[in-house]
Symmetry: C2
Subunit: 639 residues, 2 copies
């Protein structure tokens, strides 16, 4: 057992580590999180109250707390010693003064990295106003009365649209001339986005979305406490019109294609909004902000902008840094005036999703040279640090999100995410998300399965099943296939199989990714071993096994300690940007910093791609640790 | 015949007078209109070219002009002597440098007065940009390319909405990277409201509307030359839901009432827009600005804002100075992004229509004490000058616009606008607009008819028809009535009659107006004779006869030289505000300057109203010149 405990700090969702016996106030302060401690940590003022949500209760004697507080898990951070893994919540009243905002810091662990030292200041905020009721000798208009009240608070320049003016008479009278305004910080200045009767400052909610080509992920955020209230995922409804951005762009050119694609993704988003608000117990009406990270094609389709020129040289997006729009302009089912901010893109093929990842993981503020990989249908790659960044993108296909795979699925309950063969290849060990009966295979499961079957000799380097190694290989309707789970063990009541077509799709995808890293790094004169870190983002599952990913040639065969798995970097960035306008601004700056290289213009990319169409690679010297695996097909790699 | 000639100066639509033999360049300069004259007026430079559209051709010898120019009416202003009434157009190239704008001046005549010395600078303008086409090494987004081009022209702060961004890719490529932007000057800064491929700076059009409770009037304006291209009028489609603002407000409270009222006036506006653009030969697509003047209820109904609180004490409008909105927000059938500016109001019952009249007629900038009267369904009255103004309003009913009158109609072709009885009361002389066969009676005709019949003894001071004076009085379906025109002489093939109900409506209307003047003037301690001018605005017809209006007690019986008939002051203000942001700003300032008095709070108003319910008034001493008329019912006025 390690002496280091893991601490999840809420509402920041910060993951820290601490030594056995560490003082919790010190740990929190060391992480840069603002916490009140009027007495300096002597246990007398009682201002550093925290709530221990999970973990040891600690010593409850001699605390300046009520019995009720003690029963509810309230402790003084300065009097608490870490003795177990913990979930600790810092209540609002214990935070450092809100007028300054407070700075966040996230110490990286082996599992997560995130942006540091940003001020908690969401792009929307509320103010409460108590107006003097009108009288016959003071019967200026409702709007003038509101403007005068804002003026008295020093707010002079703001925009207010017709939709809000329409609501004004009823809201003012319903709240007896007390009302709460929601204001959005936009490039054109402040805009009033909502008005509610009475004082509603107690709640402020936002949504963060990562709109992927294959899957869409959303989070309901508490923008006062800065925490995630609910998460949701669905396949992008556009998938029926084509599995990748190229086929979507082609479909958009057909009559009625663009509106159909826009409506499809809106339906998906609105479904997720319904799920999130229901699970989170928050009415749709109370959503005040939407943050979207997505690739350039997804952004243009969401906004209903013809994506035609994205795929025609010289590959020009209509817009890389969209203005803040209103939800009602596109049909998002929140309040119509809710501001929708979109993370800016670099180019047609390096989108806001990757900028969001660079911001969310904090790469934009680091000195080390990092290779950032976002494995998705549209694979995106960046190398650089706070001073320079070069990006490229490649079409990896939807296999890593379970798309184009016979029994593929998103990384949700019942998805196979781990696969192993101990001794007998006929008896694999399968792990599913939620330990449910298997329903299909997600991206992480696919990587794990192919790696294990390759090592076991069931799959050869060309991605073909070998006859005679196991009885689980058979001829199915799509040719040779391997049976992962028999019908009587699955949720669906059908065999779950992996086909050679699946293998082909996976190999094309991993070959595109690997060729992308190679081409990009050589363009800046770096080798894999010169990298300080490789940050792997993607939505292929909660975890992928680095050994498996290297074994199939998806990741380079370098020092394992350099790998950091950031999960959905795009969603992370959207979430943190919802918490801080500083990070929205960081996105704008980062998008301008990144230089994009078009891989399609590069002859070496095609060479690298063809060379990577084997497991793990035709140039086996690139994968020294894979060669040493038993059961490797030494003869196959020369092709 | 007078030595003074009347000169209409286009595109300013300025009406000037000039002595016989006056030098045209001097006349134009004297009016403050910018005109180029590089040589100082010596006839050598040829820069002061004007076009004589109507009037004497003048001496065509020795001019520095081509034969074609001479045939087209082009003359040098410096070489032209006024010898007849004229219509003179100053072409753009002869104007003083546009970078400064040019100042307008309008000398008042007995027929018209208008704002002076304003700079021609419409609230929308166009700029032309030629962008560098993108290339593989310069493939920033279309929007970024546009922003950079604007930046190079010094335009940094501007807003651009999703609708424009959507059009950007196609427009840029259609125009081969040349495009024209239309920008709107709004309180929040510049906003891009339209983009068109190529260079379209040659044209810029606007619409000006006066939305009355009964009638809606519109003009299509050329915002480059500053002239009216077409005019249109229709009954307000809301009339079926009630004839005055109070009944409209009541209807709005019913289920579905507010949207029905909003849609009704939009239908009317859209009909007028179709007529204007068709007559003017201007595609709807090319409209760049809409200016609206209307009373407060009409504004709230147009915007879809619940008008409930307008009629409940303390009579608070939702908005008195609406923000600039987009046509698409309410459903005006111009381009959806076209800015709609609305003249600000003073209060619930003194609306933007009257502010528009005060601006349009230039009262806001004059030192003389003026009584401004806008005779309409909602009668509005202001007294004051550039330094102070007090306003009041009263419900005069729709009679002056032909509403609530059995055969009433708007002042359009076929409307009776003049009525006289020479000797035999059975043989009246009727004048109709356009000299067409009569179709009905407009407001001016109603005033003229009632005055004549009153003088002739056909109508008594209580507004009842006298039996036995003429055979044209008969008993109809609505009681006693007078036959103005027999069926065989009318366009409709029906008798056109005036009923006692019509008389009652007219008398109520004129009594409300007169009581309004009395109450307002006494509240500021002024008598009618202390006024420098009485400006009568209204849409009752092109002209009303001042003697007739006084004879029925609609106007006070004072020195006739003090009356100025300004026509539709509200529409005049909307038109001029379309030409100059200075006048839009003047409207904002004037609305703040005006102090409103609620007549409904005044006991004396009701007394004055009851006293005015006779022809011309119960207190006959107020109408000394009317008493002296023959046929006056000396005994009836004490009633």
């Amino acid at each position: 057992m390690t002496d280091k405990y893991r601490i999840l700090l809420e509402p920041d969702s910060l993951r820290l580590t601490a030594e056995h016996g560490a003082n919790l106030l010190d740990v929190i302060r060391h992480a840069g999180v603002g916490i009140a401690a009027a007495c300096g940590g002597d246990g007398v003022c009682g201002t550093c109250k925290v709530i221990i949500e999970q973990g040891c209760t600690g010593d409850t004697r001699y605390l300046n707390l009520s019995q009720e507080e003690i029963e509810n898990g309230v402790r003084l951070a300065c009097r608490y010693e870490v003795e177990s893994d913990l979930t600790v919540r810092i209540p609002l009243q214990s935070r450092a003064p809100a007028s300054d905002g407070h700075l966040r810091s996230l110490s990286t662990s082996e599992e997560i990295m995130a942006a540091e030292n940003w001020r908690f200041a969401p792009p929307v905020f509320k103010i409460f106003l108590k107006l003097t009721p009108p009288a016959l000798d003071d019967n200026i208009s409702d709007l003038s009365r509101l403007e005068n009240a804002l003026l008295s608070q020093g707010i002079v320049d703001f925009r207010i649209g017709l939709a809000i003016v329409k609501q004004l008479p009823a809201v003012l009278r319903e709240g007896d001339w007390a009302l709460t305004l929601t204001l959005s910080k936009e490039s054109g200045g402040l805009r009033v986005t909502d008005i509610q009767p009475g004082d509603t400052r107690v709640s402020l909610y936002g949504l963060a979305f990562d709109i992927g080509t294959t899957g869409v992920r959303g989070e309901l955020l508490d923008l006062i406490e800065g925490r995630v209230l609910a998460q949701g995922v669905e396949y992008n409804g556009q998938a029926v019109y084509g599995s990748d951005v190229i086929s979507r762009i082609a479909y958009a050119a057909k009559t009625g294609g663009l509106p159909a694609l826009q409506q499809a993704v809106l339906n998906t988003l609105n479904n997720i909004i319904r799920q999130l608000t229901e699970h989170g117990g928050v009415p749709c009406r109370d959503i005040s902000h939407v943050m979207v990270a997505a690739n350039t094609t997804m952004v243009q389709l969401l906004l209903g902008i013809d994506p035609k020129y994205l795929r025609l040289a010289p590959y020009v997006p209509a817009v890389s840094a969209p203005p803040t729009i209103s939800a009602g302009e596109i049909g998002l089912e929140t309040g119509p005036g809710v501001p929708v901010n979109i993370v800016p893109a670099v180019s047609s093929y390096v989108g806001g999703d990757i900028i969001s990842g660079l911001v969310g993981t904090g790469i934009f503020q680091r000195g080390e040279t990092v290779l950032y990989i976002d494995i998705g249908t549209n694979g995106e790659i960046v190398v650089g640090n706070a001073d320079w960044m070069v990006s490229a993108s490649c079409s990896a296909g939807p296999a890593f999100e379970g798309g184009g795979i016979k029994h593929g699925m998103l990384a949700t309950s019942g998805a196979v995410e781990g696969f192993n063969i101990d001794n007998a290849v006929d008896e694999p060990v399968i792990n599913t998300i939620g330990q449910a009966r298997p329903r299909g295979i997600c991206g992480a499961g696919l990587i794990s399965t192919v790696a294990a079957l390759f090592k076991a000799g069931v799959i050869d380097p060309k991605g073909k099943f070998q006859a005679g190694v196991t009885e689980r290989v058979r001829i199915g309707t799509d040719g040779s296939e391997y049976v992962l789970a028999a019908a009587n063990t699955t949720e669906t009541g059908q065999d779950i199989v992996l086909t050679e077509i699946d293998l082909d799709n996976l190999i094309r995808g991993k070959a595109a990714m690997y060729a992308g890293y190679q081409t990009l790094l050589s363009s800046v004169g770096l080798s894999f071993n010169e990298l300080d870190k490789v940050v792997v983002a993607g939505t292929f599952g909660s975890h992928i096994d680095v050994e498996c990913a290297i074994a199939i040639g998806l990741l380079p065969d370098i020092d394992r300690d350099k790998f950091i798995f950031a999960g959905n970097g795009s969603l992370l960035g959207a979430r943190l940007s919802s918490y801080s306008t500083e990070l929205i601004e960081a996105g704008r700056i980062t998008a301008k910093l990144v230089t994009n290289i078009e891989l399609s213009d590069s002859a070496s990319f095609m060479d690298n791609y063809m060379a990577a169409m084997f497991l793990p690679h035709t140039d086996i010297s690139l994968f020294p640790t894979v060669i040493s695996q038993p059961n490797h097909f030494a003869g196959g790699s020369g092709g």
